[in-house]
Structures are given as structure tokens and as C-alpha cells.
């Protein structure tokens, strides 16, 4: 093929810029940052191009690239993209591009920080565009591992005090510290990846065809019993990353402890990686099992929605509120997938995108607030709206999207998901979903009122705080723009996604 390997360019550009940062830009902080911006910018342009050039009429997987790696085992570097992954790649690009700006103020060991961040992003792109399950797994590991160091070194700790009857034991393990959060997150996710690996190997051996190609597996009919337990393995493995209850507890700790850009990327994109894995590998390869297990996936998703929202209401630390809201919103994603309807699945994918953008925005804002006010305690802060109107406005727009106000991306996603739930086999799923939306408005509005629009705090620390400046505006502007754009014109995303979800569901429910 003479065409430009655009997917490889998109995937590997961040790693190349990471290499430049490690070797060429040592000890030159500004160059480090601009290299990162250029690297992620290339990926952004590439993913935009792919997104626009994707042939919606033809549908299916496009932009194929293939290179045999280990022919004897059937491992090859096989990349291609369909409607779902095109949108996910675009999401990744937007978040990391904004994240590169949002990390501008990282001072300590900044070149290592950017290098690790960029390597991690390559892993994320790789998972979204790989069609070889083995390579997909390798990318998945790249996306998970740098997180340990990113949180462990540049994270923040000490906002949670262990209490209750296990307080002593929790104190011993270091609950609330960044080291604890980093270790917990890494172990949870690697635990999940062990499930995924066993599942992939089981499919490989069962297929007996000496290939790891997704397309080859897709054309096979696996034994229903095998499907059932492999689906569970994928569901648990990827589900941990997607934050399914009760395996979600790494996520609030991890997101609250992580530095801003890492929280953005992790909550914004990596959790989607989990949901994407369940949809792509679970539903895509194991159609019978996904019908069998729909009740489980949907029910746990409902628990996620309500439990996450209630937990978010109980938090006093701003970052934990956002982190628990992610757990709640990922419930919507999984619920949409479990409905096994086109509307629901479209809503699920749309919610992945919408939630990615708004969580990215939220974490960027929390990072800015913390940097200026040095506090994340909701009830100590107050009246910031008059001092930092830009941040306050952005937070409110994000919040409105989060609670599903029309004309924002969040509304479209929730509407589609609820439509799907209503027309699915389990109509009662609608109610936890709606309750979740209601609870979301309670905690979002409460936080917005307390911090930004309420009476000013009497604490002298919080006087004359500056608004966002310079590059910080870039991060906020991009995210708010996308959030509103996709809310006003949802067909931008729904059209390409539709080309992928339809055939996928056709295989699953055979309509």
C-alpha cells in the first residue's frame, strides 16, 4: 500500500517525542513542553484526519496496516480503525493535547514526567487501533504501567484520613498516600490484565488457527461454554479498568492522588479503554455470551450509576467528587452496552466520548483551582466565581454537561442510553439511570454553588486568587469547545459510530 501509514503515525508520534525529550531536550523545560505539544499535535491532526476521511458509507474496518511480527505464532502488527475506535482515538488526542498544556506547571523532573505521559498515550492509541489481540494486549500493558511512576512520583497525598474500625490497619498500609494509590491502581489493573491474557490465550488455543487477528476470530463460532467464561474473563479484566462495582475502588484513590494531566488521561481515556475492551472483545467476539451475561453487565452498571453518585455526594474533597462521578458515569457507559440495542450502544460510545471530555475538563479545573488556592476541601473554599470567572464558567459548563443538560454532549449520551434501556429486555434499568442523573445534578450543583457562586470564604488564604492564564486557557478552551460542539451537533459522532454498532449488534442479537 502506498498510502501514508496514518494510524502508525498517530500511535507512535508521542513515543518519538518522548525520545526527543529524554535525549535532546534534557534540562530544557520549555523545549520539553513544546516537544510534547508538537508530538501530541501530530497525533491530534492524524486522528482528526482519520476521523474525517473515514468512509462512512463503506463502514467496517479501514486504514489497514499489516506487518507480520512472529509468523510462527501468528502475531502480526495489524492496525485498522472503525467508527467506534475512530471516535476513541479522537478523544485520546483531544485529552492528551489539552493535558500537555495542563501540565505546563510541573516543575520537578518534568522531562521524565512528559516522557512517561507520552509513552502511556502511545499505549492508549495502540489499544484503540490494534486488531491483533496480542499486540492489543501489549499496548494495554504500556498504557497501564507508567501510571505507577506517574502517580507515585508526581502525585499528591494526604487528603484522606483512615477512620473507623479498620483505621489502624489502613494507616499501616498507607491509605490516602500517593504510594498507596499508585500501588493499588497498578495491582488492580494488572490483576485485570491477567484475566484478559488468559482469555485471549484460551480463544487462541480454541481457534487453533495460528492467528491472533480479531477479524479471524470474529468469523469463528466459539463453543458457548467457552464463550461464557471467556466473556466473564474479559468483563472482569477490562471491567476493572472501566471501574465496574465492586472493583472500582482503585479509581477514586488513583484519580485523586494523580497529577492533573494523569487524572485527565486516566479518567478521561483509560477507563474508556476498559469499556472499549468489553464492547470490542467481549461483545464483538463472543456474541452468545454477551446475550447470556447482559443481565449481569446491566445490573452492575445500575449499581455503578447510583452507588457512584451517592459516594460522590458524600465526599468533601473536590477531586474525590469528580473521581466518584466517573464511577457513576462509567455505569452509564456499561448500561448502554448491556442494553444490546443500537440506541443504547450508540449512547454508550457517545457517553465514553462525552464523559472523557468532561472529566478531562473537570480534572484540569480541579488542578487549576488547587494550584491557585492550594486546597481541595470543598467546604473551606467559597466565592471563587468573582476572582476566577473563567474557571468558574468552564466548571459550570462541564457540570451542566455532567448532569445531562440539553445542548451539551452529556445530554445526548444519556438520552440515547435511556432510550436503549427502555427498548431493551430489562426496562427497569431506566430507573437507576434516571435516579443517577438526578443525584448527579445534586452533587454537581452543590459543588458549583459552594466553591464558585456562593458567598466568599472568610479564609484569608483565598484572597486575590488569579484566573487561568496563558497555556491554561488552551486546555480549557479546547475541552469546553468540544463539549458544546458535540452537544449541539451530535450527529458528528453518532454517524460514524452508527456504522460500527449496527453490524456489531447484528452479530450479537442476529436482527
Amino acid at each position: 500500500m502506498s498510502r501514508l501509514p496514518i494510524l502508525s503515525i498517530m500511535t507512535w508520534a508521542p513515543v518519538l517525542s518522548a525520545l526527543v525529550i529524554m535525549f535532546a531536550a534534557r534540562h530544557r523545560p520549555l523545549l520539553v513542553r513544546w516537544t510534547a505539544v508538537v508530538g501530541t499535535g501530530i497525533s491530534l491532526v492524524a486522528s482528526l484526519w482519520v476521523y474525517c476521511e473515514y468512509d462512512r458509507a463503506a463502514a467496517g474496518f479501514q486504514f489497514h496496516e499489516e506487518l507480520p511480527l512472529v509468523p510462527s505464532l501468528g502475531i502480526s502488527y495489524l492496525l485498522a480503525i472503525d467508527g467506534i475506535s475512530a471516535l476513541m482515538a479522537l478523544l485520546t488526542s483531544i485529552i492528551i493535547f489539552a493535558g500537555a498544556f495542563a501540565s505546563w506547571t510541573v516543575k520537578e523532573r518534568s522531562q521524565e514526567f512528559y516522557a512517561l505521559l507520552l509513552i502511556l498515550v502511545t499505549g492508549v492509541y495502540g489499544v484503540f487501533v490494534s486488531l491483533d489481540l496480542f499486540i492489543l494486549f501489549l499496548f494495554y500493558e504500556i498504557a497501564v504501567l507508567p501510571m505507577y511512576l506517574l502517580i507515585g512520583i508526581w502525585g499528591s497525598s494526604g487528603h484522606v484520613r483512615p477512620q473507623g474500625i479498620f483505621g489502624w490497619a489502613m494507616g499501616r498500609t498507607g491509605v490516602g498516600t500517593k504510594e498507596y494509590a499508585a500501588m493499588k491502581l497498578t495491582l488492580y489493573l494488572l490483576f485485570g490484565s491477567a484475566f484478559i491474557l488468559v482469555g485471549i490465550l484460551a480463544l487462541y488455543v480454541a481457534a487453533g488457527s495460528q492467528t491472533f487477528s480479531f477479524l479471524a476470530f470474529q468469523s469463528m463460532q466459539f463453543d458457548p461454554d467457552l464463550q461464557r467464561w471467556v466473556f466473564l474473563a474479559f468483563y472482569v479484566g477490562f471491567g476493572i479498568l472501566a471501574g465496574i462495582w465492586p472493583l472500582h475502588t482503585w479509581s477514586p484513590d488513583g484519580h485523586a492522588s494523580a497529577p492533573t494531566a494523569v487524572s485527565m488521561l486516566h479518567a478521561g481515556v483509560l477507563m474508556k479503554l476498559g469499556a472499549y475492551g468489553v464492547v470490542r472483545l467481549g461483545m464483538g467476539l463472543l456474541p452468545d455470551a454477551s446475550v447470556d451475561w447482559a443481565w449481569l453487565v446491566g445490573t452492575i452498571a445500575c449499581i455503578n450509576i447510583v452507588y457512584g453518585a451517592l459516594s460522590a455526594m458524600a465526599q468533601t474533597d473536590l477531586k474525590y467528587v469528580i473521581a466518584y462521578s466517573s464511577v457513576s458515569h462509567m455505569g452509564v457507559v456499561m448500561l448502554g452496552a448491556a442494553t444490546l440495542t443500537v440506541d443504547g450502544l450508540n449512547g454508550s460510545v457517545f457517553q465514553m466520548f462525552a464523559h472523557g471530555i468532561m472529566t478531562g475538563l473537570f480534572f484540569a479545573l480541579v488542578g487549576l483551582v488547587y494550584e491557585k488556592a492550594h486546597s481541595r476541601e470543598i467546604f473551606k473554599m467559597g466565592g471563587f466565581g468573582s476572582m476566577m470567572p473563567g474557571i468558574a464558567t468552564a466548571f459550570t459548563i462541564g457540570g451542566l454537561s455532567s448532569l445531562g443538560l440539553p445542548a451539551t454532549a452529556g445530554f445526548v449520551a444519556e438520552l440515547l442510553t435511556f432510550l436503549g434501556a427502555w427498548s431493551s429486555e430489562y426496562q427497569w434499568w431506566l430507573f437507576p439511570g434516571v435516579i443517577g442523573a438526578f443525584l448527579t445534578s445534586v452533587y454537581v450543583l452543590r459543588v458549583a454553588k459552594q466553591i464558585f457562586w456562593g458567598p466568599p470564604s472568610s479564609d484569608p488564604h483565598f484572597e486575590n486568587l488569579p484566573d487561568a492564564r496563558g497555556t491554561e486557557w488552551a486546555a480549557l478552551g479546547i475541552l469546553v469547545f468540544v463539549l458544546v460542539l458535540f452537544g449541539v451537533a451530535p450527529s458528528l459522532a453518532v454517524n460514524p459510530v452508527d456504522t460500527a454498532t449496527g453490524p456489531l449488534l447484528q452479530r450479537v442479537v442476529g436482527e
Binding site: 494486549f137 501489549l138 491477567a194 488455543v205
Partner: protein, 495 residues
């Protein structure tokens, strides 16, 4: 004498000759009083040893081992000698290269040891190493019970000596004694088992075992069971692993690096020879036993490693866990299972020896084997810390380093046999293993350094560490040739 025999036996003969030469060189040096062995060992810890000032006997050993390593490639494969009791097949040559390569890495690492004993008694030290390698080589080729046992003893007795080599230090004799008692007890068990096997099969040849095993004579089963237990001691499998941490902790680190790899490989070869080669489907009787042994070994090793505060004890327990993973490959009792186990052995050699060599570098500078000695290593010596991280990730089984493929292939072989439960257990335990490996990584990368000056790495030790990094990363990025090689070796056992 037939020249073919000489050619086929070339590695063993050369090892023997090298051992004699080293011993004589040591005597000559002592007689002349010129202290060849001591020639300008670096007296102070901070200064890297100059290549020309390193002990001559160590260099002699190193060059000799390198030459013999080359010789193994000239030996024709498949020669059967001495009345079929000695088989120079591709498996034997494969592990012999592993023995020699690991011994060479260990010798390279020990050239910069500072204790007086290593310079004063350099010839003894290297003589013992070479003789032990000779024992392993004989063991790897033995197709006869008595020769097998002779190989075992020839391998083990020098190991006891080497463990207690620093005899003036309080812990060394204790560890050596413990190792000696456990080792001789296991030897006794092996001999006892062999007597039953002989009684049931009526021959000391291993080739008589399959027929006797197929009969299912109870004495035969008893004998093979005892043999498995005895070999379990040698490879430190559960429940015979207790000696490993104590021995590792007290012995000199470069030696431990070798001790943790080569004798284990030798034990595995003995197991392959006894239980798999030519046995056919009768071997399946042992599958559940080996599978249970594998599972228990993985669990024990991984769980016991968690609370360790001494890096050598941690690596000892993690080594026990790795033995468990290799047993998983063995439990598959298939060609691919054996191949994947051999691949695992090579990956383990690079990863584990590399980690121990880094431990050596840090211990020399910090005078401590505690995990806390690694605090902030990434900011003091970024390259050393990166090497250690690579080794730990390889041991933990992370992609792009050798250990990942090793674990993957072993699981693969087990899944082909339908052992999903064992694979699942192993996969979950890799996460447990990553926990304690990451605890070390956390000290190196996240915690602040107590001091800022870099950890001095003697140049030769650095070369040895670099060799291990190259091995681990090379196998991780491009495993295909190693896999093909291991598969070719294993397939000869099942033809």
C-alpha cells in the same frame, strides 16, 4: 582411544583441564609468593577496578570458560558414549551452554569483590566453580543412575564449599552447614529412590525406566516419588525450599546469582531425563503431582517474598516462585512445555543474575542488603536503577522484556493441556509478584535519596550487568530465535 569420543567429550575434558590448570596456577602463585591472585585488587571501595589489575586467576577462568563455551558449538549433537550412559544430545548441550554462560557472568561479577579471602584464595574459589560446572555437565548428559548421582555430588559439594567460602564471617559457616545438611539429606533420598528404581527395573540405565514405569510396579512408583522429592530439594521447590533464603543471604552475591540459576537448571534437566524423555504416555501419571507441586511452589514463593526486607531473601523467595512457573511448563509434559521451560530458564538466568549483580553493586557501596538501601537510587545512579527496574520487570513478567514471553509461553503450554486452573493461579500470582517487585521500584524511583553521590559500579561488574540487560531486552524484543531453538531442543526428546 576413538577420537570421536574425545570430540564428543570435549566440553567435559576441557572443563577438567581448566580446573587443574587453575589449581596449579594458584599453587604456583603461592609458591612464588608473588600473589598473582591478589594482583592489585582495588583496595578501596570507591575506585573501580582497572581491567589490567584484576586477579589473573579470575581472568584465566573467564577466558577458559569462554573458550569452552565456544567448544560446545563444535561438538556434534546426538553422540551416545560409554555404553549409552553418556548422551551428548542437543538438550545436554543447551543447558551446558547455560551453565557455562551463567558461571562466566558470575565470575565476571566476582572479580571485583573486595574481601581479602577472594584474593588470597582465588584459585580455590574458581577451582570449585569450575568443578561444579563439570558436575552439572556430567549430570546433564547422564543416562545412567550412578553417573547421574556422581554428577549430582560433583556439582553439589563445591557449592557447599563456596557457600561457606567467607569462613571468617559469622553467618557463612552456618549457611553452608544448613545447605550441606539439606543437600546431603536430599542426596540420600535420591540414592534411596534410585535403589527402588533399580530393584524394580533391574537396570541402572534410564532407558529401562519407561518399561518398568508402564508396568506400574508400586516399588517403582515409590522410587520415582522419592527421586522427585530429592530433586525437589535441589531445585528448591515447595516444601523443600527452606534452605534457599538462608543460603542466599549469607553467601557472596555473585556466587548466589549463579547458585540461583545453574543448579536449578541442572535439577530440571535431571527431572526431564527421568520423567519425560522416552517415557511416553506413562509420564502422565506424574502430571497431577507436578502440577500440584508447581501450584504450591508458586503460592509459597510469591507470598513469602512479600514481607521480606532483605533484597537477597526477597529474590530467594521470588526465585522459588519462578521454579514454580517452570514446573508449570514441565507439568504440561509436552514438547512445547519442555521448550517453554527451557526458554524460561534462559530468561530467568538473565533476569535473576542481573538483579543479583545490581544487588552486589549496591551492597558494596551501601554495606547493606536491605531494601531501604535502594532509596532514591534513580536519582543517584539512573542507569543502575534502570537496569534493576528492567530486571525486576522481567522477573515480574512485563511485556518487552524476556520474562513476559517466558511466562506467556509456559502458560500457553499449560493451556494446550487444558490446565486452565493452574494457569489462572499463575496469572494471578504474577500480580502478587509485581507487588513486591514494585516495592523495590518504589524505593528506587519514588522515595527521596538519603545521599546524593552516585553508587560506584566497578567496571567489570558493570559489564556483567550490561550483558544481562542486553540479554533480557534482546529476548524480550525479539524472542523468536530463542523459542525456535528451545523448540528444536525439546522436540528431540519426543521423537
Amino acid at each position: 582411544m576413538n577420537p570421536d569420543i574425545l570430540i564428543a567429550l570435549a566440553p567435559e575434558l576441557a572443563l577438567f583441564a581448566l580446573a587443574v590448570v587453575v589449581l596449579l596456577a594458584g599453587l604456583a602463585a603461592r609458591a612464588r609468593g608473588s600473589h598473582v591472585g591478589r594482583a592489585a585488587l582495588s583496595e578501596d571501595a570507591g575506585r573501580p577496578a582497572k581491567a589490567n589489575g584484576a586477579p589473573a586467576i579470575g581472568w584465566l577462568t573467564l577466558i577458559g570458560l569462554a573458550v569452552i563455551f565456544g567448544v560446545t558449538f563444535l561438538v556434534p549433537e546426538g553422540a551416545s558414549l560409554l555404553g549409552d550412559s553418556f548422551l551428548q544430545d542437543s538438550l545436554a548441550l543447551f543447558v551446558k551452554r547455560l551453565f557455562i554462560a551463567s558461571a562466566a557472568l558470575s565470575v565476571l561479577g566476582s572479580l571485583t569483590l573486595q574481601q581479602q579471602a577472594f584474593s588470597r584464595r582465588s584459585a580455590e574459589y574458581h577451582f570449585a566453580v569450575i568443578v561444579s560446572v563439570l558436575g552439572m555437565s556430567i549430570l546433564a548428559s547422564a543416562r545412567e543412575l550412578i553417573l547421574l548421582f556422581v554428577g549430582f555430588e560433583l556439582m553439589s559439594i563445591p557449592l557447599f564449599l563456596l557457600t561457606g567460602f567467607l569462613k571468617r564471617e559469622a553467618v557463612a559457616p552456618e549457611a553452608a552447614l544448613k545447605f550441606f545438611l539439606v543437600g546431603t539429606a536430599s542426596s540420600a533420598v535420591i540414592v534411596y529412590g534410585m535403589s527402588f528404581v533399580y530393584g524394580a527395573s533391574g537396570s541402572t540405565m534410564l532407558s529401562a525406566i519407561p518399561a518398568a514405569m508402564a508396568d506400574g510396579h508400586p516399588l517403582m512408583m515409590l522410587g520415582m516419588g522419592l527421586l522427585l522429592a530429592g530433586l525437589g530439594f535441589k531445585i528448591a521447590a515447595f516444601p523443600f525450599h527452606m534452605w534457599a533464603p538462608d543460603t542466599y543471604e549469607a553467601a557472596s552475591t555473585p556466587f548466589v546469582a549463579w547458585l540461583s540459576v545453574a543448579p536449578k537448571a541442572a535439577g530440571f534437566v535431571a527431572i526431564i531425563r527421568l520423567y519425560i524423555e522416552g517415557v511416553g504416555s506413562a509420564a502422565l501419571v506424574w502430571m497431577p503431582a507436578v502440577a500440584v507441586l508447581a501450584g504450591m511452589t508458586m503460592v509459597t514463593g510469591n507470598l513469602m517474598a512479600i514481607p521480606q526486607q532483605n533484597i537477597k531473601r526477597l529474590l530467594a523467595y521470588s526465585g522459588v516462585a519462578h521454579i514454580g512457573y517452570m514446573l508449570v511448563g514441565l507439568a504440561a509434559l509436552s514438547s512445547s512445555g519442555v521448550a517453554m521451560m527451557l526458554f524460561y530458564l534462559v530468561a530467568y538466568m538473565f533476569g535473576n543474575m542481573g538483579a543479583f549483580l545490581v544487588v552486589q553493586a549496591v551492597a558494596q557501596s551501601e554495606q547493606s542488603d536491605g531494601i531501604d538501601a535502594y532509596r532514591g537510587l534513580a536519582q543517584r545512579s539512573p542507569l543502575l536503577a534502570l537496569s534493576m527496574l528492567i530486571f525486576l520487570l522481567s522477573l515480574g513478567g512485563i511485556p518487552f522484556v524476556a520474562g513476559f514471553w517466558a511466562k506467556l509461553y509456559v502458560f500457553w503450554a499449560a493451556i494446550e493441556r487444558g490446565m486452565y486452573g493452574l494457569v489462572f493461579l499463575g496469572a494471578v500470582l504474577t500480580v502478587v509478584a509485581l507487588y513486591y517487585y514494585l516495592l523495590v521500584a518504589r524505593r528506587m524511583y519514588i522515595e527521596a535519596p538519603p545521599r546524593t553521590e552516585p553508587v560506584p559500579v566497578p567496571r567489570l561488574l558493570g559489564v556483567a550487568i550490561l550483558a544481562c540487560v542486553v540479554g533480557v531486552v534482546g529476548m524480550g524484543v525479539y524472542p523468536a530465535p530463542w523459542v525456535t531453538w528451545a523448540q528444536r531442543v525439546a522436540s528431540t526428546l519426543f521423537s
